[in-house]
Structures are given as structure tokens and as C-alpha cells.
């Protein structure tokens, strides 16, 4: 079959980071080619080079036999590269037809009638259930997604890049999108499909390219690559190596197995779309939610803390039934939560390190009982020393600290409340190795002191090092639980990939 796009030995560096190193990618006419990899694998960098957003440092891009150098997204568009991003980049308050044609006319005047007719034809040919005069925001999300695809295709596109198009769609909508993709495939469009949902990869893709840490791992026929092998390729461990890995020393499960659970949840679900799940953690236990991105691991802990709206289920603290419908309820019960999105959910950027540290404890103490300046400074000093936070002073705004130190400040905020149960969602993401180890050690020390910790990390080794029990998630549901002997990398990956256990 004919190649519509060939990328050879693409390299791209950003200051201090090598984002892509000798990555190759080929797209054939009329195929769906999945591009997979964990966070930071280089997928989005590669896509941005394909679409002309970034310029490559080295390598070749060949479209239909010609070597091409994109200087801008407009360049790429003219060569027939169309892109649909995860978030819909259309104008919700314009009509469907306007959205299809916006920014494409070279004339000062618009022929509305012609525009509507063209839109109708295109929508009909793709079977998209929308009217040209309808306001875009009145269409369901999936239809909006399809309209942005239609817009891309209408611009004479031979290469269609779909960057996580399904993440906000429900199952039925995904099927609609897939049938549209099949339709386009039969018309000879080459489709690059990026997603975190492996089931979807297998459902629609012909071939799969795996990236990891900016390197090209391989290109495979989807039909000849079992799912657990794909997972191991994404995570970077051959299964044979894994099974031979030495068992890590675990903090004796015997110490807590007999004790009552400190926190229990039954049938808990949230508006963020996590399916009802049961969960329990004992005093001094460190457990973790593990799964690929989008598996629902963060949504689960957010449901426990009521960070997202809780839609059902029961929770118990130390055997007593409790209602947690707002984060403050969880805090009052002695639960702490370090959010995954440090910038969006964690730090109060303009406030000082001191205010950021005392915030949670101050809220617990009450509106009418502010800490004295001296007391607040003493707290801040204590934790800056204890966690070795590098800051010019306690009055420095937290935003001017490095990512790792910001994370330590948020950690300090929760340690200061002396929680009985601490939830840490990706506490080590984007942090240098030294700080990572410090945080891992801290978690184990907290557990020794009797604090229960739920730990989430994208790095499987880190999870195995710190957790004594892992809850495995896939497609927003718990699919398995591993502890003791089963806690090996290969077992974990088998369950993640759906090999069953």
C-alpha cells in the first residue's frame, strides 16, 4: 500500500529536554494508525511536528514522495494535514456552517447560500446529524467533534490527525465517531489516532506505533500484537525481565492486616465518570491505584475526597458511617489530598510559601481563629526545614519556586494537618530524582507512624516500591487487586492490559 506520510529519524529538543530522538512514523493511504505511549513519550511533540506547530531539528518528512519542510500550521494544511484536537477548537456561538468555513475565505464577502449548501452536502455525505444553521453549542459533544473532523476533511485533507478525540465522549458516541473514521478510511484518508484507551486502539486501528521517552519503540500490526505486550512496550519492561526482578521488601502487611480499616467506601461513584467501586484502607497501610492514564485512578481518589461531585455510595471512617460531600468534610475527618494537577488544584500561585503551608490547617481551625503571624511563621519554618524546601524566604510567592519545591509545599500543607489518611495523586510527577526518593521515603515513614496513604504514580516501579497493595484500574473501573506475592511488574501489567488475574 502507498504511504501518504513518512517521517524519518525525527529529532526535536527543547532547552534541557530531548523530546524526540530518531523517531520514525509512516502512514499509509486508507489506514488507521494508532500512536501510543505514556505521558511524556513524545506523542504530542511528534504530532506538532506533523502539523507544523513545531519545526523539527533533524530528520525528514516525506509526503507522497516529496521531501517537505513545514514552517507553519498553514503550510501543513496546504499539504493536506488536518488535525482535530482533544478540546473542540470551534466557536460554540456560531452556526455549524459558519464554523465549517470560518477563516477559510479569502474574500471580504460571504456567499451564505453557497456556504449552507456546501455544508449540507458535506454533513450528509458523512452522515453527521446536524443542520448548517444550527448553533454549534446546541449539538452534542460527539457531533461537535465530528463537525471539527468534517471541517478538517473538507480542507482537502489526506492525512487526518485525531488527538484524543474520544476522551470526552460516551460509548455510543465513540461508536458513531468510529463509523465516521471507517467511512473516511474507505475514501483513502490516512488517519493518525492518538488515545489512552487501549481497547479503542484495538477496535479501530490497523497498525500501532509505540513511543517511549521520546524514542521510537516499534511499529506493529495491531492484529499481531497482544494487548499485554503493548502495555509492556509502553511501560518499557520486557515481560521476561520483569518476572525475574527481585521482590521488593514490603512493609509488613501483618502489622495492619488484623486492624480495622480506617476508611471504607462502598459503591462510590462520582460525576467525573468513575464506575461505582469498593475500597478500604487500614491504619498504616500504603496502597495505590494503578492503571494507564484515563483509567480512572485519579477520579477514584477524587471521589473519596469529594473533589468531584459524589453521585452515590457510602463511606465509613473507622467503622462509623460518614457523609463526605465536600472536601471540607473529608478534611475534618482527617483526610488529606494532594491533587494531581499541582498548578490548577494545588498551589495558590500569588500567595506566599507561608500562607500556602498553613492554608489547610488554618481552614480547619476556623474563620474566626487566624494563627498569629508568629505561629504561622513557626509552622512554615518547621516544614521548610523538615521537607528541605528551597525558597528565598517564607514570604516568597509559591509560584516562583521550582515544581519540586512547590510540590513539597503542598505536601507540607497536608502534613501540618496531621492527617490520618493521606491521598497523594502523582506527588512525584515532574520532579527530579532526588526529590522523588525523598517523597517516597517520607511516605513510608508516615506509614510507620500509623498514617494510611493512598499513592498514585504513573511510574510502576515507584508504585511497587512504596505500596503494599495495588488496585488496578481500566476504563474507569477496578479490574483487579494485587498484593503480596502477586506484586510484580509483570502481574501488574497483565492486569492493566486485561490479561486477567
Amino acid at each position: 500500500m502507498q504511504n501518504v506520510l513518512e517521517m524519518r529519524d525525527i529529532c526535536k529538543s527543547f532547552p534541557g529536554v530531548r523530546a524526540l530522538h530518531n523517531v520514525s512514523f509512516t502512514l499509509r493511504k486508507g489506514e488507521v494508525h494508532a500512536l501510543v505511549g505514556e505521558n511524556g513519550a513524545g506523542k504530542s511533540t511528534l504530532v506538532k511536528i506533523m502539523t507544523g506547530v513545531y519545526e523539527k531539528d533533524a530528520g525528514q518528512i516525506i509526503i507522497e514522495g516529496k521531501t517537505i519542510h513545514f514552517r507553519s500550521p498553514q503550510d501543513a494544511q496546504e499539504f493536506g494535514v488536518g488535525t482535530v484536537y482533544q478540546e473542540i477548537m470551534l466557536c460554540p456561538n456560531l452556526t455549524v456552517a459558519e464554523n465549517m468555513f470560518i477563516g477559510r475565505s479569502r474574500h471580504a464577502f460571504v456567499n451564505w447560500k453557497q456556504m449552507r449548501e456546501k455544508t449540507t452536502r458535506l454533513l450528509d455525505s458523512l452522515g453527521i446529524p446536524a443542520r448548517p444553521t444550527q448553533q454549534l453549542s446546541s449539538c452534542p459533544l460527539a457531533v461537535q467533534q465530528m463537525i471539527s473532523i468534517a471541517r478538517a476533511i473538507d480542507m482537502n485533507c489526506k492525512i487526518l490527525i485525531l488527538d484524543e478525540p474520544t476522551s470526552s465522549l460516551d460509548e455510543e458516541e465513540v461508536q458513531k465517531l468510529f463509523s465516521l473514521m471507517r467511512e473516511l478510511k474507505s475514501k483513502g484518508v490516512g488517519i493518525v489516532f492518538i488515545t489512552h484507551f487501549l481497547d479503542q486502539v484495538y477496535e479501530i486501528s490497523d497498525r500501532i506505533t509505540v513511543l517511549r521517552n521520546g524514542e521510537f519503540i516499534g511499529e506493529y500490526e495491531a492484529s499481531s500484537l497482544p494487548q499485554f505486550e503493548l502495555v509492556s512496550k509502553m511501560m518499557g519492561k520486557a515481560l521476561d525481565d520483569v518476572s525475574q526482578m527481585k521482590k521488593m521488601k514490603k512493609y509488613g502487611p501483618s502489622t495492619y492486616e488484623s486492624s480495622e480499616p480506617i476508611f471504607e467506601a462502598a459503591g462510590l461513584s462520582s460525576a467525573a465518570g468513575v464506575k461505582p467501586f469498593d475500597f478500604a484502607i487500614r491504619k498504616g497501610e500504603v496502597n495505590g491505584f494503578i492503571g494507564l492514564l484515563g483509567s480512572g485512578r485519579s477520579e477514584s481518589v477524587r471521589a473519596i475526597y469529594a473533589a468531584d461531585k459524589v453521585t452515590g455510595g457510602e463511606t465509613k471512617m473507622k467503622g462509623k458511617k460518614v457523609k463526605i460531600s465536600e472536601p471540607i468534610h473529608a478534611m475534618k475527618l482527617g483526610i488529606g489530598y494532594l491533587p494531581e494537577d499541582r498548578k490548577g488544584d494545588g498551589i495558590i500561585a500569588e500567595l506566599s510559601v507561608r500562607d500556602n503551608i498553613i492554608l489547610a490547617l488554618q481552614v480547619l481551625k476556623g474563620f474566626f481563629k487566624p494563627f498569629s503571624k508568629k505561629q504561622a511563621e513557626a509552622f512554615a519554618d518547621e516544614y521548610i526545614k523538615r521537607l528541605n524546601i528551597k525558597t528565598a524566604s517564607i514570604n516568597t510567592p509559591i509560584k516562583s519556586l521550582s515544581g519540586g519545591n512547590q510540590q513539597k509545599v503542598i505536601l507540607a500543607r497536608w502534613l501540618l494537618t496531621h492527617p490520618e489518611y493521606l491521598i497523594l495523586d502523582e506527588p512525584t510527577r515532574g520532579i527530579d530524582v532526588g526529590t522523588k526518593v525523598e517523597i517516597q521515603k517520607l511516605v513510608l515513614k508516615l506509614a510507620e507512624e500509623g498514617v494510611s496513604v493512598t499513592f498514585i504514580s504513573s511510574e510502576i516501579e515507584e508504585m511497587l516500591r512504596t505500596c503494599s497493595r495495588l488496585i488496578v484500574m481500566r476504563d474507569r473501573a477496578i479490574v483487579g487487586e494485587l498484593s503480596g506475592e502477586d506484586l510484580t511488574e509483570s502481574d501488574v501489567m497483565r492486569v492493566i492490559a486485561g490479561g486477567g488475574k
Binding site: A307, E326, E350, D355, Q362, V363
Partner: protein, 369 residues
């Protein structure tokens, strides 16, 4: 960091309004050296300074409340002047309806007008906090309707407060050498500062203004805090309306505190506060409010035609805002560096550079540890 530096950090925000204030005073002194002179008329102090403090009373109080809602909701309430007209119309109505006026009736009527102020604040706050209406749009409703409502409460044009008590509140109480509105403003500021010191209002509203999502995850209810700040602003409007109407001696529902909302917003901005919310400095806003009053009076003193005074004021404010913008500040910082390099010679720069390098290598070492 040394103590001096830390203090300078908070001080930085009020440097600009303070220096503007100084420049204005300087202009006044050039115009006439008797600027600071104070005379005693009927046992009370009069002169430029007392007049400024007297004239700025309502604006100072309004700008305090405006600072709070700006911080928590990242927007401004443009109905404050109108809201003050409504609260003061309630006050006037209650005072006039009372058979015999005593200090007690005045106090009760004032408290009732405060309650109305809180209600108005709750109304605006509900639109902003619960229905997520942009503050300026939400308060536009009352801005449009408010003066008519005040007129309805008045029942007629400009009811007159002809009694000794309100006259004394609006001017001087015999035996006290300072005009009453000045005292009331200071009392208000003191009470407000005490409230700030004994609660977490500042921390909470800054947190909500900077990052409402994170605020919620730390147990702060952004809706409640926004509502609270609007209700406090309601009390501020009641206090400002009270002072304004006692000063005027009659309730003119059309012109009372006209355009004061814009001046209050301006005071917040001149005070170095971001109108997009978050961190705030009350002292900045208060200085900002007095600065505006001084500016008004300076223009009058310079015999600028009252008809054109607004244009001059606008020009002055544009200069002020541009100077305080980060673009100019960075440019000035670069400029001073360049000038220093030319005048101070290479030696100093080199020494400074070495000191910098030493600091960096030190932190490098500690980083590696």
C-alpha cells in the same frame, strides 16, 4: 532576606500612590505655601488637609469594600454609589418618620440602612457567586434601577434632614475639634482592620480570588466567601450613604454619590491592587482614595475650569496607570541598570556580578545536597 527587605516587599505596592500623593502636595505647595495652614472656625479645624480628609470619607469607605469584592470575585461592583443612595433613603425615611429624633433613632435608622446594604450585597453576591454572572453585569442591574428605587422610598424629590443630630454628624459636634465624617471614617477603618486581623477574611478571599478550585479542595467554600465580601461591601455602602446624606443635609436621589463607583474602582487600582482579583492591600486602596480626592482639589486649586476638570483628571490617571504598568516598570529597571553601568563604571557591575555568581553557586551546592 533581611527584615527590611521583607517589609519593603509589602511596602512596594503603596510606593506609587504615595509618591503621586507627594507630587500632588508639592504642586499645591508651589502654588501657595499656605497649603498646610489650618485655621479654627467655631472650634473646629479647617484647612486643606482637613478638607481632603472630610471630602474623601465616603470614597475611602467604598474603596475598602470594593477592594474586598475585587479580591474574591475578580470583578467590580458598579452599583455602590446607587446602593448607597438606596440605603441612605431608607435612613432618611426612618429618621423623618420618627416622631422625636434622638441619638437612638439615628443609630437604629443607621443600623436598618446597614441591613438594607447587606441585603443589596447579598443580592449582587448571589448573582456573582451562585449564578456566575460577571460582577459588572450583575451589579449593572441595580446600577440601572437603584436611583428610581431610592426615589420611590423617598416619596418625593430631595427630602430634607433638618435636625441638629444629622447636621452634627455631617459637620461638627460642638466641643470636638475634628469634623465628624473624618472621625467616622477613621473609626470605620479601625473597625475594619480589627475585623481583618481577627478573621481569615484576607487569606480566604485572596485564595478564592486566585484559585477557586484549589480553595474548595482546601475546605474553603468560594460561594460563601464571595457572598460574604459582597455583604461587607453592602455595609460599606450603607456607611458611605450615611455620611454622604448627613453631609448634604438632604437626600437627592439623583445626584447623591454620583460617579463614586468609578472613583472607588480607581482607588483600588491606584492602590496597586490587581482588578483581576487575588492579593490585595487595603492600605493601598485607602491611600488611592485620598489621592483621588487630593487630585480633584488640586485641579480646582489650579483653577482648572470645572467643566474641563474631568478631562484633566483622566489624563493624569492615564499617566499614572501607564507608569505603574509592568511594561514601564521593566523598562525603567533596564534603564537604571544601563545608567548605573555608565556612571558607576565597570568595577561595580563586575563586583555585583561576582556576588550574584557566588549566590548562584551556593544555591547550586545546596541543590546538589
Amino acid at each position: 532576606m533581611t527584615m527590611a527587605k521583607i517589609k519593603a516587599h509589602g511596602f512596594h505596592q503603596v510606593v506609587l500612590p504615595l509618591s503621586v500623593l507627594l507630587i500632588l502636595i508639592l504642586i499645591n505647595l508651589i502654588k501657595g505655601a499656605d497649603y498646610f495652614s489650618i485655621s479654627i472656625i467655631n472650634g473646629a479645624l479647617y484647612g486643606n488637609i482637613p478638607n481632603i480628609l472630610f471630602g474623601a470619607s465616603e470614597l475611602v469607605i467604598l474603596s475598602i469594600g470594593m477592594t474586598l469584592v475585587t479580591s474574591s470575585s475578580g470583578g467590580q461592583d458598579i452599583s455602590v454609589g446607587v446602593a448607597a443612595t438606596i440605603t441612605s433613603s431608607v435612613f432618611v425615611r426612618l429618621v423623618l418618620n420618627a416622631g422625636q429624633i434622638t441619638w437612638m433613632t439615628i443609630l437604629l435608622a443607621f443600623l436598618a440602612s446597614c441591613a438594607i446594604g447587606i441585603l443589596i450585597g447579598a443580592f449582587n453576591g448571589t448573582l456573582v457567586a451562585i449564578f456566575n454572572v460577571q460582577p459588572m453585569v450583575a451589579t449593572l442591574i441595580l446600577y440601572t434601577a437603584g436611583r428610581s428605587i431610592a426615589f420611590l422610598i423617598d416619596g418625593k424629590l430631595s427630602p430634607i434632614l433638618a435636625n441638629n443630630f444629622t447636621n452634627q454628624i455631617g459637620s461638627v459636634i460642638p466641643g470636638i475639634p475634628i469634623q465628624t465624617p473624618i472621625i467616622l471614617t477613621f473609626v470605620f477603618i479601625v473597625l475594619f482592620v480589627i475585623f481583618l486581623k481577627t478573621t481569615n477574611l484576607k487569606l480566604y478571599s485572596e485564595t478564592v480570588g486566585i484559585n477557586p478550585k484549589a480553595a474548595r479542595l482546601n475546605g474553603i467554600d468560594p460561594v460563601r466567601i464571595k457572598l460574604l465580601t459582597y455583604m461587607i461591601l453592602g455595609i460599606c455602602t450603607a456607611a458611605a450613604g450615611f455620611i454622604a446624606v448627613t453631609k448634604a443635609g438632604r437626600h437627592d436621589s439623583v445626584n447623591l454619590l454620583k460617579y463614586s463607583e468609578m472613583d472607588a474602582i480607581l482607588a483600588v487600582a491606584i492602590g496597586g491592587n490587581a482588578l483581576s482579583g487575588g492579593k490585595f492591600s487595603i492600605s493601598g486602596s485607602i491611600i488611592g482614595a485620598y489621592t483621588i480626592e487630593v487630585l480633584n482639589r488640586t485641579l480646582l486649586r489650579l483653577e482648572v475650569d470645572p467643566e474641563t476638570i474631568k478631562a484633566f483628571k483622566a489624563a493624569f490617571i492615564i499617566i499614572l496607570i501607564v507608569i505603574s504598568s509592568s511594561v514601564v516598570r521593566e523598562f525603567l529597571a533596564k534603564g537604571t541598570k544601563w545608567v548605573r553601568a555608565r556612571i558607576g563604571g565597570a568595577e561595580q557591575i563586575q563586583a555585583a556580578g561576582e556576588a550574584d555568581a557566588a549566590v548562584i553557586s551556593n544555591s547550586d551546592i545546596s541543590e546538589k545536597k
